[in-house]
């Protein structure tokens, strides 16, 4: 992602030329998203899942609930972990191997959004204080890459968490036993991330892979449903002026409810 590959000058020129006419290569306006479709609970073996299509970007989000020891400083709280995987099938430039910057950033930005907004009631995930808690793993699995992974994954993560169920444990004489029952996870907040990229002096939403290749920088802003900002992340090798940042916040704030509605579904 970002300027990892060298882009031909022709492509760069063409994209900026089209942008200067107020349109984009695929005919969208600057503030238009591609078609976003999210299917809830598409998998049987995982506790929750969502399949996200954003244009040609295709992401599968799986939620698994396991158990483990809590962190030392929060003995009574469960853990939410987010991990992103760039599969080699998703993009010709992605190779198998340890996670690279792009997937780490994706996972951490989505993770921060979920944590900051306090999406899950972590105290409800306690089984035995200081010994055993439930751990909710959110795995973002990129199946096809065509830009704007952060937005697609953050919407997918909320969709998957909302449909997820966790197993119930009974504690009998300091031993945790599975009761066989499953109850829905309580999702308290529904943050969604909106990314804006800057090409020249233009700010656009929902970039495609080509647009991300030539972008100067990107600003991701996560909004919860109360209109509060829970995460921001700037990446890419250019700076933003204060006015541009304010404009980005406006654009994201306007778009967030629409994306959230899609993520929640019916």
């Amino acid at each position: 992602m970002s300027k990892s590959n060298i882009v031909s000058h022709l492509k760069q020129k063409k994209i900026s030329e089209v942008l200067s006419t107020g349109k984009r290569m695929d005919g969208r306006g600057f503030n238009d998203f591609r078609e976003l479709s999210i299917k809830h609970n598409v998998l049987f073996k995982s506790e929750g899942s969502a399949e996200v299509w954003l244009g040609k970007t295709h992401v599968m989000v799986g939620v698994k609930v396991g158990t483990g020891t809590p962190f030392e400083d929060t003995p009574d709280e469960g853990v939410l972990m987010t991990n992103a995987e760039f599969t080699p099938i998703a993009n010709a430039a992605w190779e198998p191997g340890p996670p690279k910057e792009g997937s780490i950033e994706l996972a951490r930005v989505v993770d921060r959004g979920l944590r900051s907004a306090e999406v899950l009631d972590t105290s409800a995930l306690k089984i035995i204080s200081g010994k055993l808690v439930q751990i909710v793993y959110v795995d973002l699995y990129v199946l096809n890459y065509d830009g704007n992974l952060i937005d697609a994954c953050s919407a997918g993560a909320i969709a998957a968490l909302m449909g997820a169920k966790k197993p119930v444990y009974n504690v009998v004489e300091k031993e945790a036993k599975l009761s066989g029952e499953k109850v829905p996870l309580t999702v308290k907040k529904k943050p969604v991330a909106i990314s804006i990229i800057k090409i020249g002096d233009k700010l656009i939403l929902d970039p495609t892979a080509d647009e991300e290749d030539v972008m100067d920088c990107r600003l991701t802003i996560t909004f919860d449903e109360d209109g509060h900002i829970c995460t921001m992340q700037k990446s890419g090798s250019e700076g933003l002026t204060l006015d541009e940042i304010k404009k980005c916040i406006n654009m994201a704030q306007e778009k967030a409810p629409e994306i959230r509605a899609k993520a929640i579904g019916d």
């Binding site: 900051s116 109360d226 829970c230 992340q233 090798s237 933003l240 002026t241 204060l242 404009k247 704030q253």
Partner: protein, 278 residues
């Protein structure tokens, strides 16, 4: 772009921390004012083997930064034919935090390395050195909150020390919210107990924000205020960086005039008023 964007106001959310009991006279836990930075000490050229280096102390943070290059890129396939590649590595010593951490790079380290790179890249004339690499290595010796900002501050002056042509310095400073109050330059306690944290890096001359991250909860109104506060903080840091550079490279006012033959003759050699010089 002609109209100044205004941001829709949202009301602040209730504080996340439970202790609002000490509401009598609000003070930061280390007694600083809300917009007061910790003491910053920058020393330049501390590593004999590096092309450029800097040591920074921000409060109890102790960070060393070494810059190597421009030098041949290794592995070669990572080189770019049109410009140099800036590589950053942020690393924390196992003893820098409590409890000990593994020396292997964590996801956090890798992300910070990445955001550092994008914070510094806009300031460097990378196109001057095609196919080369410029390596920025940061070692956190002791951490006390705000290491990524301190690392960027050290790296910016270390790049200057390495003689790499730059468009501007990069100064970084964090803003945060604790007990519903905005504060600048968060310490470790404020970082952990606070409601939000927003590191900012800024190029004062080009007036551009090159690093912007945030976590925690803030209303759009607070974000706007925090941005302004953070930029003010960055400007203070910038002065410290300039002073440090002046101390190392500044031209002393000559006591007696140097012999004439040593004076530069070409007009382009005239000492211009650039930062780091007088």
């Amino acid at each position: 772009m002609s109209k100044k964007p205004t941001i829709k106001k949202t009301t602040a959310r209730k504080p996340r921390t439970k202790k609002a009991d000490k509401a009598t006279s609000w003070k930061r836990n280390d007694g600083r004012a809300f917009d007061e930075l910790r003491t910053i000490k920058i020393e330049i050229g501390v590593l004999p083997n590096a092309d450029g280096s800097a040591y920074i102390e921000v409060g109890r943070n102790k960070i060393l930064c070494g810059v190597f290059g421009p030098r041949e890129m290794h592995p070669k396939h990572q080189a770019k034919p049109n410009e140099a590649v800036l590589r950053c590595r942020y690393h924390m010593a196992p003893f820098s935090v409590d409890p000990r951490r593994s020396p292997a790079p964590s996801r956090r380290d890798q992300e910070i390395s990445m955001v550092m790179r994008s914070a510094l890249e806009p300031a460097v004339f990378l196109e001057r050195y095609p196919r080369a690499s410029i390596d920025v290595y940061v070692e956190v010796i002791e951490a006390d909150g705000g290491t990524r900002c301190a690392s960027i501050n050290a790296a910016a002056v270390a790049l200057v020390d390495a003689g790499i042509p730059m468009k501007d310095l990069v100064a970084a400073c964090a803003v945060g919210k604790i007990e519903d109050k905005l504060i600048v330059d968060l310490g470790e306690y404020e970082d952990k107990k606070g409601q939000s944290d927003m590191p900012i890096a800024y190029m004062p001359k080009l007036n551009k924000v090159t690093l912007l991250q945030m976590d925690g909860i803030m209303s759009t109104d607070e974000v706007e205020k925090a941005l302004n506060l953070g930029i003010e903080g960055c400007k203070k840091v910038y002065e410290v960086q300039r002073e440090a550079l002046k101390k190392k490279y500044g031209i002393e006012q000559p006591q007696d005039k140097p012999p004439k033959e040593y004076q530069p003759e070409e007009p382009e050699e005239e000492p211009k008023t650039e930062e780091g010089q007088q």
